[in-house]
């Protein structure tokens, strides 16, 4: 009846007075079965759902599930398994600008940027308290910084998008100088650390915290060689007193103890067997090919640890572990290794004495076997992004660099030796730059840190040449995806592509 009256009014006035405005109501037909943007983002619940959306890209396959293609394959820790043209050229530094994995890596991080920007734009307009606004904006900026940190390290200068997606805002953005990108990352993380909670409880567990922002910021400052800042930020994170190393290194790789544990500063949350994009897909790519560990058709051995039988001896990850390093067992499946925790119903898993069908060794991390909550390309194990060990070693790295390449700083030594003793290794009384990067290499093997560690360590071209790869300085950055340049003519390509 109300609608009829509206129409009658419109008809009457319009017919007599030829007035257009009387009909606005009649012509305003909002969708009945979809939610319009302008009617959403109002309440605290709406904003919580919008905030969670920014975590969706992180959980998707293209972020970490396949992120190793960009973050790990170039390094001396791994080689590509199989012949998939989507990532095997990356191993040889012959990546083309058409590479689909590079394009996906770019797109998923910009998606996180866009979804973070939605929260940053919408939160101040919602009917929520100023504190809630600040917390949401800070959390969104953490996600945005995480995305830009990857983009900056992989591509160099990249476009900076600060607006919620809209045709009113410029979408054909040029590349901004790297310094501006890092300035944004630093500002975002400073704001995030100021407002984010120290701990999360209940359903909020796994979302960004103050510690995560501090730890990520420390890593950013190490990259920028602001070692004093890096030291202070990692120290502040350590002083929060909420993190500790798990007693056993293996606790981080056992699904019963790995998720959101005391060592976890920031993890990507996963569930097994959920809808596509919610599970951890690493096992599918890392598990040895043809072994049936996953009890499914996945387990492809797509990324394989470097070993002296294939790569230049003396440069491989298999040799990098010292005698007696407890971490080796949890990082690499070596011939005849026995894993009673994998598929215990089948009596555990024994890696063949002659190696699996396509490799003599395989990655162990994230390989947990088949089980009730494990499906094709989907396990429920969370993905480590920043472990407390990384915070400790950031602190040590800052000390080493500040002290001219070798440190005897007791705090740094304590942190360093805590990690070594957990690995069953003897303590060191001085720590050199090489010691630090060697420790990082084995501590974080296959956790997507090694390539960036090499970049910070410097002299990557020579290191990789010794490892048997041919490359020049231009290959230290990836190409801007060609499809992106085709659409966004403001973009330029990196040198060498």
């Amino acid at each position: 009846m109300y609608k009829t009256r509206k129409y009658l009014k419109c008809a009457f006035i319009a017919a007599l007075a030829f007035s257009l405005s009387a009909c606005e109501d009649f012509l305003d037909k909002q969708p009945l079965d979809t939610i319009v943007e302008d009617s959403f983002y109002k309440t605290a619940q709406d904003m919580e759902k919008a905030m969670l959306a920014a975590y969706v890209p992180l959980q998707n396959l293209q972020w970490m599930g396949q992120g190793w293609r960009i973050l790990e394959i170039p390094s001396d820790n791994t080689q590509a398994g199989g012949t998939d043209p989507d990532f095997t050229p990356i191993d040889d530094f012959s990546t083309s600008a058409d590479n689909i994995s590079v394009a996906e890596f770019w797109a998923i991080r910009y998606r996180a940027v866009a979804l973070s920007n939605v929260v940053i734009f919408r939160a101040p307009l919602a009917s929520i308290s100023d504190e809630e606004v600040a917390a949401l904006v800070g959390e969104a900026k953490f996600i945005r910084a995480l995305a830009y940190f990857d983009l900056a390290r992989v591509f160099g200068d990249v476009p900076i998008s600060l607006e919620a997606p809209s045709l009113d805002n410029e979408v054909l953005l040029p590349r901004s100088p790297l310094a501006e990108v890092y300035a944004l990352i630093e500002a975002d993380l400073t704001e995030a650390a100021a407002v984010l909670p120290i701990t999360r409880a209940g359903a909020e567990i796994g979302r960004a915290t103050k510690g995560a922002a501090l730890a990520l910021h420390a890593k950013v400052e190490l990259t920028l060689k602001n070692f004093r800042d890096a030291q202070e930020l990692s120290a502040e994170c350590m002083r929060l007193g909420v993190y500790s190393l798990m007693p056993n290194y293996g606790d981080n790789w056992n699904i019963a103890t790995s998720d959101n544990n005391a060592e976890s500063v920031f993890q990507i949350q996963h569930v097994g067997c959920g809808p596509f994009g919610t599970g951890n897909a690493s096992q599918a790519f890392f598990a040895p090919f043809g072994q049936g560990i996953t009890k499914g058709s996945d387990g492809w051995g797509s990324q394989i640890p470097t070993s002296p039988s294939v790569n230049n001896p003396g440069t491989t990850i298999q040799e990098a572990f010292e005698e007696g390093d407890l971490r080796l067992f949890h990082s690499i499946m070596e011939p005849a290794a026995s894993y009673p925790n994998i598929n215990p119903d089948e009596g555990g898993y024994n890696y063949p004495a002659t190696g699996a069908s396509r490799a003599t060794i395989n990655i162990k991390k994230y390989v947990i076997g088949g089980g009730p909550n494990t499906c094709f390309m989907s396990t429920g194990q969370n993905m480590h992004v920043i472990r407390y060990a990384d915070v400790l070693l950031s602190f040590v790295e800052a000390a080493v660099e500040l002290d001219g390449g070798v440190t005897v700083n007791q705090e740094a030594l304590d942190a360093f030796n805590a990690i070594r003793s957990r690995a069953g290794l003897e303590s060191l009384s001085i720590v050199t730059r090489d010691d630090l990067f060697q420790e990082r290499r084995v501590e974080f093997a296959f956790e997507c840190h090694r390539w960036f560690d090499l970049l910070r360590q410097g002299d990557v071209v020579n290191t990789m040449r010794l490892h048997g790869k041919t490359l020049d300085e231009n290959k230290l950055l990836f190409p801007i995806p060609s499809a992106e340049i085709k659409i966004n003519t403001e973009l330029t390509q990196n040198e060498g592509y």
Partner: protein, 1022 residues
């Protein structure tokens, strides 16, 4: 509602006259007489006889006689549709017999235009009419079929030959990538022409004929005439919905006189036009051995085998259709009515395909007095459609051709059979598929329109109309559980949905008809109109029903039940005006303008203005022309205007949010984020059109010629914006950036070759259209995809929807040839196709694809003739379509030579070591060379000439029928599609567009072909 407040005392005077008293008459005399046809001498029934200058009149009766009391020395005017009216002085006579001459010139024919009617001679725009006579000669199920071949510039193709199947109507070419279908207006009520909204999809299978026909619920027998408005001058009054042309449908109304009861009935038989030659069992057995490597024991002596099963005979049948209608018309001077009820039942030529329609219509007109009229029409119809999946490689017709002749249709126990287990078929027995899979669509539609009209002052008339269109439809799709041979579907699935939509429209029209001085006339229309519609649907699905006989939703597995639904609404508010100005009866000016406010447009562009203007010069009325007796009518028309297409989706301008799966804590949860980026500026697709036409009449209108040239520029075509992924990967907004130009020429010649006892007239029309896509914005190309196979590509500088693929250059005969040729595949062998290396890079890859043909004809021509002799009538219509190509996807499997499916007989000539064929490739199970890729191999000339309709009728002599109390009776026999001349190798060259998609035309993917039909019928009037 508008109210009129009179401000002059004169109104009161008028008012009293209105409720009025009949004029007092003096010196009355009674005159009577017989009215006859000047050509045939037959009496004419229902002629209006009016005393000039008095409110007094009658109509001639059954015997053509009239009786009227008039004042002495009055003049009597006799008018009858289709005849020249005449005025005679009575001069005191008691008897006055009148002979009316048929009006061959049709110059004074009144045609329906937007929101009114006009004398044909006053037209300045371009329109085509299909009259009742033409409609009558075509006993067709669907009204739109009756349009085929009748109007220049109107290209009608049946997308699907199934009874009730949808057609595509292209008026002057394709000017949009969203929809190219015209707007239909039935008795003033616009209805959606785009059938995609009512699409009945078959679960995962999408067939091209799935869209049901928007005009299905209209009984063609109820229709009096159809007008097709073609240029902007004619269509601009429909503004934002006129870009693809407008089709006006007018139903029959009652007229004063004796009540007429008519029965129309016909029965017809339909058959497939032709069968395709596929291998028989002996030939198949040999082929099977070759493709399979090892032979089946029972196939080892092929020469001992018989013909095997003819699967085409199994799926095609002679479909019987019948149509019955009872109509009653009549009335008196103040009230006229037309009531009809119809029943139509068509069994399609493919087993399992049926269509039924029950329809009822009431049209009522009442003159309250000389100035005030009310009336209305209501049409209620129900249609029941059973659809058989086609236009798909898993469709019934397609799989019937592919099923080996070694399999029987049924086993000895009557159950459906499967071929030998060794034969690997990926589809079910086609007859079982047709009969056991259910796709039922039933629809009830109530279409009504009420009007009130009052002459406020002399020449000024106010009219208001209220129309509604209510639709209720149910759909049930059932996939049975089957397990036959290698094909099994262990769990049955049932999907059912209920849809309802309501639409209303309210119009207010003010017209003024008058003279300015002595020499000029003016006719103006001001209108306001508002309309709104909404729809909602619910759908439910269960699977695992206990058997295939009972198909109700409650029987399925409750644990796996799913449901869905949705709703939407839209509205349109419009102001429009038209001014016709005629100076000295020879200079004609028309200007129209319409403002459309649409809920579909963005808030920044909510209102569009659509103007047009046209002038016409009737040179033949010039004084200097009066001496030229040869030419009776000579008119030049020039017009231009801008119209729009508002079918851009309901909410294109809005940004929505959508749910995403997210892991929160350790649980799955739902996050919400944007689903698309909005373009608040989105607006109609505009179409700028210009038309120049000439009308020529010679020998007193016995030869008339109409010619039109036009240009249609579709500008601001809606295409998705192309955004970088750095924008977040959300669905891109539609932006108005595309441009398509259609240029064309239309010619029509109508000749009255003979009148009198033997009458003969001829209609010829021809249309040429050229389509060029000028801009696609940053969207490089648009791809048309059928079953995940890209088949057409639309790029700038070419016509829309051209076929795209590889060019073949014969078949490799030797390994040496392969070694020298560009690399195709490492396993290319003699007998494989040689594809052309168009970019000369030494490799055959996707860069070597090119444009292979245009599915839109260069020109179409139609010829119809009507003969009459002493009650016999003969008419025929020949349709010609020239210069179009067809992509015959049937041959991708039917001559694919890569699997164990049956093949066309041409496969017997396949390349083998002993038969170095240059046209048919080798049989190879794995097809390493990809011989089946889309190439010119499948592109065929789609030109055809078709005897679309022949109708022979006999009007029973009056002397005979009067004895049985009939006023007229006619029997007829009619044939549709009796002859077709074409080079096309498929069933039927008339391949329409796939689901009315403007980007996919002329692709035959196992389309349901048109039928050849023979119909006998009669109509009788009491």
């Amino acid at each position: 509602m508008v109210q009129y407040y009179p401000s002059t005392p004169r109104f009161l005077l008028v008012f009293f006259l209105l409720i009025g008293i009949q004029a007092i008459s003096l010196a009355q005399v009674t005159v009577k007489g017989i009215i006859t046809d000047g050509e045939t001498g037959e009496t004419l029934i229902g002629v209006n006889v009016v005393e000039v200058g008095a409110n007094n009149g009658t109509v001639s009766d059954f015997d053509g006689t009239y009786t009227l009391s008039i004042s002495e020395n009055a003049d009597l005017q006799f008018t009858y549709i289709g005849y020249l009216s005449t005025t005679r002085k009575v001069n005191g006579a008691k008897e006055l017999n009148v002979i009316l001459q048929p009006d061959v010139a049709t110059l004074n024919e009144v045609v329906v235009v937007g929101y009114g009617s006009q004398r044909k001679s006053d037209l300045t725009g371009s329109l085509s009419s299909v009259t009742e006579e033409q409609l009558k000669s075509m006993p067709v199920t669907g009204l739109d079929q009756a349009l085929q071949g009748r109007a220049a510039g109107v290209y009608v193709t049946q997308n699907d030959g199934a009874p009730g199947g949808a057609l595509s109507i292209r008026i002057r070419g394709i000017g949009s990538t969203l929809t190219a279908e015209p707007l239909y207006v039935i008795d003033g009520v616009p209805i959606a022409s785009d059938n995609q909204g009512s699409s009945a999809t078959f679960g995962a299978l999408d067939g091209g004929g799935q869209a049901s026909n928007a005009l299905n619920t209209i009984n063609p027998n109820d229709v009096e005439r159809i007008e097709v408005l073609k240029d902007a001058s004619a269509t601009a009054i429909y503004g934002a919905r006129a870009a693809n042309g407008v089709v006006l449908i007018t139903t029959k109304r009652g007229s004063a006189g004796k009540t007429k009861i008519s029965i129309d009935s016909y029965v017809g038989a339909n058959q497939v036009l032709r069968k395709l030659d596929v291998m028989n069992l002996r030939e198949y057995a040999q082929y099977f051995g070759e493709i399979n490597g090892t032979q089946l024991e029972e196939f080892e002596r092929p020469e001992l085998l018989g013909e095997g099963t003819d699967w085409q005979d199994a799926v095609f049948r002679t479909g019987i259709n019948q149509n019955h209608q009872l109509s009653i018309t009549g009335g008196n001077k103040s009230t006229q009515f037309a009531i009809s009820g119809g029943y139509s039942d068509t069994k399609g030529i493919v087993v399992g395909s049926d269509f039924q329609r029950y329809s009822a219509r009431v049209n009522l007109d009442h003159h309250i007095n000389d100035r005030v009229d009310i009336g209305g029409s209501i049409n209620v119809a129900q249609t029941n459609e059973r659809i058989v999946i086609n236009d798909n490689s898993a469709g019934v017709i397609y799989t019937a051709l592919l099923t080996p002749p070694s399999a029987p249709v049924r086993n000895a126990d009557g159950s459906f059979a499967a071929p030998q287990d060794e034969i690997d078929l990926q589809f079910d027995n086609p007859v079982a598929r047709a009969l056991e899979t259910i796709n039922d669509n039933s629809r009830t539609r109530v279409l009504s329109n009420l009007y009130f009209s009052a002459e406020l002052f002399r020449g000024i008339t106010y009219r208001t109309e209220l129309g509604t269109d209510l639709n209720f439809s149910d759909q049930l799709v059932f996939f049975p559980s089957t397990d036959r041979g290698n094909f099994s579907n262990t769990v049955s699935t049932l999907n059912t949905s209920r849809n309802q939509s309501t639409f209303w429209i309210n119009k207010h029209l003010l017209t003024f008809d008058g003279k300015i001085g002595e020499s000029s006339k003016i006719n103006t229309l001001f209108g306001f109109e508002a309309q709104a519609s909404n729809y909602e649907f619910i759908a439910a699905s269960r699977n695992g029903l206990p058997n295939n006989e009972l198909t109700q939703i409650n029987l399925g597995d409750a644990g796996q039940a799913t449901n869905g639904g949705g709703a939407g609404h839209n509205s349109l508010v419009s102001w429009f005006s038209r001014v016709n100005y005629t100076l000295l009866d020879r200079y004609l000016f028309t200007a129209t303008g319409r403002i459309d406010g649409s809920s579909r447009f963005g808030p920044n562009n909510r209102y569009g203005f659509f103007p047009s203007a046209a002038v016409a010069w009737r040179i033949s009325e010039e004084p200097f022309f009066q001496d030229i007796n040869l030419i009776s009518n000579f008119k030049i028309r020039v017009g231009a205007g801008a119209v729009g297409n508002q079918e851009i989706g309901l909410y294109s301008y809005l940004a929505n949010v959508q749910g995403f799966n997210v892991v929160r804590g350790d649980q799955l949860s739902t996050a919400f984020g944007p689903s698309n980026i909005a373009n608040p500026n989105v607006r109609w697709e505009s179409s700028i059109q210009a038309n120049i036409g000439v009308d020529l009449g010679m020998y007193d209108g016995r030869i008339t010629f109409t010619g039109d040239i036009y240009r249609k520029i579709a500008d601001g075509m809606l295409l998705p914006a192309v955004l970088p992924t750095s924008a977040g990967g959300f669905q891109a907004p539609f932006v108005n950036i595309g441009r398509i130009v259609n240029d064309g020429l239309e010619l029509g010649i109508n000749t009255v070759n003979s009148t009198g006892a033997f009458s003969w007239s001829t209609d010829i029309n021809a249309s040429f259209n050229r389509n060029v896509v000028e801009s696609l914005g940053s969207t490089g190309s648009l791809v048309g995809v059928i079953q995940r196979l890209p088949v057409t590509r639309t790029v700038e500088g070419r016509a829309i929807s051209e076929f795209f693929g590889y060019k073949t250059a014969g078949i490799f005969q030797t390994l040496a040839e392969i070694a020298e040729a560009p690399t195709q595949s490492t396993d290319t062998r003699p007998g494989d196709f040689r594809f052309e290396d168009l970019n000369n890079d030494g490799v055959i890859n996707e860069e070597d694809q090119t444009f292979l043909g245009n599915p839109v004809p260069d020109f179409t021509a139609n010829l119809s003739n009507n003969f009459g002799y002493k009650g016999f009538e003969l008419s025929f219509l020949i349709q010609g379509v020239f210069g179009n190509e067809i992509l015959n996807l049937l041959d991708r499997n039917l001559l694919g030579l890569t699997d164990q499916n049956n093949q066309r007989v041409e496969a017997l000539d396949r390349f083998t070591a002993t038969n170095p064929s240059t046209t048919v490739p080798r049989a190879t199970f794995s097809d390493p060379n990809d011989n089946r890729r889309i190439s010119d191999r499948y592109v065929e000339d789609g030109s055809f000439v078709r005897l679309r309709n022949v109708n022979l009728g006999y009007q029973l002599p009056n002397a005979l029928i009067k004895k049985i109390n009939l006023s007229s009776a006619k029997v007829y026999v009619s044939g549709q599609n009796l002859l077709t001349f074409t080079e096309y190798s498929g069933y039927d060259p008339e391949v329409g567009s796939f689901n009315q998609n403007p980007l996919i035309n002329g692709v035959d993917n196992g389309r349901y072909p048109a039928a050849r039909s023979l119909t006998v019928g009669f109509n009788a009037t009491f």
